[in-house]
């Protein structure tokens, strides 16, 4: 009997790796422990009374989005959305990034 590969078998050969990738991603997520440093960071937050992530450090008014401040674009609503996108999407042009002063 002439043995040709059944097309449904072929489909499984495509579907199985795809499914394996999905299952792999889910498994990876399930078995992954907290990223390194998480316990450390929690300790630092508690010890120093930190209120914000150091994600948006480019300006004073973006550094602590949850804390209204003298420089804050939006002072009155701690839950308010950032007025200026904290963290511009792109860095300023290089000539503006030249350090000034001493």
């Amino acid at each position: 009997m002439n043995r040709t590969l059944r097309k449904s078998t072929l489909a499984m050969w495509i579907l199985a790796p795809a499914l394996a990738i999905l299952v792999g991603a889910v498994t990876d997520a399930l078995i992954s422990d907290a990223a390194p440093g998480e316990a450390e960071m929690r300790a630092e937050v508690a010890a120093w009374g930190l209120t914000d992530l150091a994600l948006f450090t480019e300006a004073r008014y973006t550094r602590h989005p949850s804390q209204a401040d003298r420089h804050a674009a939006f002072q009155d609503h701690p839950g308010a959305l950032e007025h200026f996108p904290s963290g511009a999407l792109m860095p300023p042009p290089p000539h503006l990034r030249e350090p000034t002063g001493p």
Partner: protein, 376 residues
Amino acid sequence: MNGFARQRYLLDFTVASLMRRPGRNLSLLLVYTLVVFLLASVMLYSQAIKGKAAALLQGAPEIVVQRMEAGRHALMPAAYLERLGRLRGVAEVQGRLWGYYYDPAVAANYTVMAPARDGAAPGQVRIGAGIARVRGLAAGDVFSLRGYDGQPHAYTVAAVLPATSELVSADLMLIAPADFRAFFGLADDVYTDLALSVTNPAEVRQVARKLAERLPDCRPILREEVLRTYESVFDWREGMLLAVLAGAVFAFLIFAWDKATGLSAEERREIGILRAIGWETGDVLRMKLWEGGLISFTAFCLGYGLAHLHVFHAGAPLFAGVMRGWSVLQPHFALTPQVDALQLTTLFLLSVVPYTVVTLVPVWRAATVDPDSIMR
């Protein structure tokens, strides 16, 4: 068993028929995968970073009290500490000393903090890994900055904070409270703001209300508001990205719609042949269901898997810029791989179901034509 064999035969036919236009169907699969990948990446990234913020800020002060002067943030007199300490339900009050320092040498902003405990000894500084990186500093070096009076203030770097904690400490400078006051020219009887902890976490709101009555010129910021801020900051960014991606998604939808609904005369004739040789309407529909399901499910699996790799193991190079913004002192951090059943289901329903339905509708119309049509 018979039903299974039947489905398998239908799958045989579906694949054989897809393989007739390998280039077309493969490119469809690729584009489809790309769309799922983009959507899943954005969703995974914002979910992960929101989760991260929530997990880390769990230990933030339960209430921060800021004083207002003419509607602006002002320094907090130490006397307020006394007035608050007697408030029922407040376990502890602490004056916080923190501020910003712009370092023109590297054009970066530092957050200067003088914690009451676990801070730094007088004359010493502990700096975040981000500062150490941009300034090229290590423990033992002398870190000299210009104070409010224009005079240089020098501190010995006692330690660099661990790089693994950059997400909260990249730009931190911890110095002693006395050094802080000398550096910024602050009087001894003021604080930046106050941090409160309450005895019963369930009473935070009541405490905040009483506090606002007792100190009318002050404003409390609750920890839940802090957490909500991060939630909305990233929601907003996710929304912005999704809005941009919506264009791509709609383009794909139009493409898929066109491909799926535009049943060619050839396909119509094929369905006629199948009906004539004895296939039921249901068989034709199931065959098409396999076709739509196979393509969309494969794209869903691949897209999600690739998005997982992209976000959690490659640092999300495509979106990190938009989600995190730009800054000189960018913290280095890794997101914890995670999966959310609801998110996975949403993505599945969004990617697999519409396409499958769109393939099915026109076929359903064609499959009900008379089987003798191909003989006429």
